[in-house]
Symmetry: C2
Subunit: 121 residues, 2 copies
Amino acid sequence: MSHGTEPDLGLLLEPEPARRLADTMQALATPSRVRILGALALRPCSVGEITAAVGMEQSAISQQLRVLRHLGLVVGERRGRQVIYALHDDHVRVLLAEALAHTDHLRLGLAAPPATEAVTA
Amino acid sequence: MSHGTEPDLGLLLEPEPARRLADTMQALATPSRVRILGALALRPCSVGEITAAVGMEQSAISQQLRVLRHLGLVVGERRGRQVIYALHDDHVRVLLAEALAHTDHLRLGLAAPPATEAVTA
DNA sequence: ACGGCCTATGAACAGCAGTTCATGCAATGA
DNA sequence: TCATTGCATGAACTGCTGTTCATAGGCCGT
């Protein structure tokens, strides 16, 4: 399926591809943005709804929504006096799902015996 | 395949799961770590090899390797007086590959016409 | 047109993360 | 044992990032 032939991971050694990947991943590197995306993964929401769901200042939400917009992860559309935000497309949802799955998987490894940690015990 | 039934993305609304995912993703949120992982994706490397490949101070490399170790993304094993690092397992490689693929895909969306950006043109 | 809701933006602040410098520890070879 | 190589660690610094506060702009009711 989608990753039958892996793209050249050696590219990540180069500064530019590495920087781009890092920038995109930074969207998922802060709890507030992850929660916002989690809310939008359930359904499109107005800023007010997101604010209530996440429990942060409205201002902070708008700031992070701006970041997410510029990264192309979410889109906003005016509807009356409010703006409805949604995930940009299903790829974002898949990215979230895979990140979550990998996170769980990796944390299992951390809980496991240190057969892997051969240095600086 | 692997994500036939998506894990509950609504979990990401909760602070703790969000924080954990954010922590893990932060490993990919900085170019230096991405480049290190890119090098290790090609083959296991000693710290010196990574340092040469990435072109940073050896000290910085070790610091980031520590972060990556604690996140369970890489493992190190002593061999003589050097330490050979490698990706923890193939899941890490898959995560890198998918992140790279998603990055490319998302950047295509950004280059595309703003049919999606309906607010704050 | 005016007042009120909803969102966006600018500035200031605090905290953190990545780098560097200097040093310490481990392991080999003479 | 001593010197040397290779890696790790602690401290200090810098820059960035996320939050808050205050304010501005848009859009709808009346």
